[in-house]
């Protein structure tokens, strides 16, 4: 078994309104910053042991589809890297 960390990024699908990001953007603009757009995303780091990277990715993808993301409103990415154990 190898130790991995999977990084899951969950973001709203394009076209889904993100009121919190809009509020954050307005707040940055009030602070005097210039920006075109701001998007927010959730990131999860999952430590796990697996036979290989692809089985780690498969397990974390299933975690993401079952709970971490809501497919109605979210897209997600899973990136797996070996972890110093």
């Amino acid at each position: 078994m190898t130790a991995y960390t999977a990084t899951v990024t969950v973001r709203l699908k394009q076209g889904v309104l993100d009121p919190e990001a809009e509020t954050t953007q307005r707040s940055l603009e009030r602070l005097g910053f210039e920006l075109e757009d701001l998007r927010s995303a959730d990131q999860f780091e999952v430590d796990l042991d697996a036979a290989d990277a692809s089985s780690a990715e498969q397990r974390v993808t299933e975690m993401t589809e079952r709970l971490l993301a809501n497919p109605t409103i979210h897209d997600y990415e899973v990136a797996v890297a070996e972890r110093e154990s």
Binding site: V16, T72, I73
Partner: protein, 225 residues
Amino acid sequence: MTVAVVRFGGSNCDRDTVQALESLGVDADLVWHEDGLPEDTDGVVLPGGFSYGDYLRAGAMAARSPVMEEVRAAAEDGVPVLGVCNGAQIGCEANFTPGAFTTNASARFQCEHVHVRVENADTPWTRDYEAGEVLELPIAHGEGRFEVDDDRLSALEDDDRILFRYCDESGAATDDANPNGSKHNVAGLTGDREHVAVMMPHPERVTLADIGGTDGRGVLSAFAD
């Protein structure tokens, strides 16, 4: 008819719901989610509140708790199931109904009375109303904006599965009368079968004339037979 009002850690409309049902002559019991559904359950309400502190997404944790498999099985046996507010978020997260209830367009928690128009009066939840009737119901949510992809929404509309839309006092479903930015002003809808329904406004809070109105009685009277 004994209705199980399923209480999760963070539910806070559970006791109101029991009282509202009892005011209609319906037997109702609080059921702690870890205890599972009683055998004589012939109705289920998923009440409002903040189950699991709204961690991850409102309703996400409760939707995946073991009792929900029992609720799903009961629904498949024909037991009526209603999710209100946090219960609606749980119902969508559990795929009882399509779509998702997510952050209000205002990005704020909103607690106010709104008007909704009865869209389909031919369901257990709406048969005490007329199609097009305007009700005044309270909302109290930060994540009540109904989101669903356009194709799915069209299919829901074609199948008459929208129960209520936010509207103004005269019944017009305008943007101004939409408190949270819900797509097509959707405030409540049914699942694949009409005895499963979710809605963000609180019918249980308007069941007694002395405390603000009775417009919600019709929804809960689905449990009265």
